[in-house]
Symmetry: C2
Subunit: 195 residues, 2 copies
């Protein structure tokens, strides 16, 4: 079946946004990035800063990060409101038109669609550090631990809401090492995969 | 750098041999499969049956599988002789000409070569079962647990000799879901990756 939707999960600093944008441009389809945040803010009624901070990242980098979220029907925490908004927004985007969606558990949210290609991007530490320096400057580099925290927090967030292990190859259709393959080759391979 | 060597690690039943052979044919390069066993037998002096049984599979499917191998300089077990033979044979194959090598920790053994593309192939259980039925008939299917054992034993073998986690996307350049992508698409993507 032809793939209309491409979800890109990625390690922090592996160039997921850049690759996703290039793929969307080459295929002439939508690329959802800031729009996703904007729509989640609208849908959830939460502040933009809160959505940015918690849409993809657990509140802390340990396994107790979601201890106080509360999953009972009677307790509705902002984190659960955010998750429900995210699901709704991503399903609507995918329904409306062919598109590329980066992060946000989109691979899991759209898992029942046959027309969805699930990609995971990763890279070696040196490649990610170089990328982080380019984008966030020396401040980013000085907080090297911060880099790992970003991925740990993404992993905990993903695992909590999906019950799956983040970054396990078997959850995706295609997992690409952006460090060894380079950005342009990753773009080509994703396009080849949906052809 | 141009990739001359392609290593294919794979889950049991994911079609690694078929895909590797097709890739080699299309690229006009060597495909090492039975030759690998034959050369390991020559190099190690061990019986063919022993090499077939233990080259890729741990003696048992638990974490104590290698408890009695003995890694001290004074104890040389057949399993260690086999590992040394495997390293030598794979390094020689890679040195001699462009080729595709399936399994046998080749990705790890050739990790210092820049001209090596490391691929991991996996598939959902239904796809693997179908494949196993086609190749091994109903006998294979009746022993469904056997399927899992094969991968567990491969994983333990890989982990013991390489210190790395088998099937972790980050160890490879490219990880492909043969279940969702299909055999021909996997072949195309591997060829696209080395172009």
């Amino acid at each position: 079946m032809k793939k209309n939707i491409i979800t890109i999960s990625r390690e922090f600093g592996s160039g997921g946004r850049t690759i996703g944008k290039k793929v969307a441009e080459k295929l002439g389809i939508e690329f959802y990035d800031r729009d996703l945040i904007r729509k989640m803010v609208e849908e959830s009624g939460l502040k933009e800063k809160y959505v940015e901070q918690y849409a993809e990242y657990a509140p802390s980098a340990d396994r107790f990060a979601y201890s106080f979220v509360g999953l009972g029907e009677e307790t509705v925490s902002p984190l659960m409101i955010l998750w429900e908004a995210k699901k709704k927004v991503i399903q609507e985007f995918a329904q409306n038109s062919a598109c590329v969606i980066v992060g946000n558990c989109a691979d899991y949210i759209l898992k029942d669609r046959d027309d969805c290609l699930k990609v995971f991007l990763y890279a070696d530490e040196a490649t990610k550090e170089k990328r982080i320096r380019e984008i966030y400057g020396e401040v980013g580099l000085k907080q090297k631990n911060h880099v790992h925290d970003m991925d740990v927090k993404r992993g905990i967030n993903y695992n909590y809401f999906t019950g799956q292990e983040w970054g396990r190859a078997q959850n995706y259709d295609l997992a690409l090492n952006r460090g060894s393959l380079g950005i342009d080759k990753c773009v080509e391979l994703i396009i080849e995969a949906v052809k």
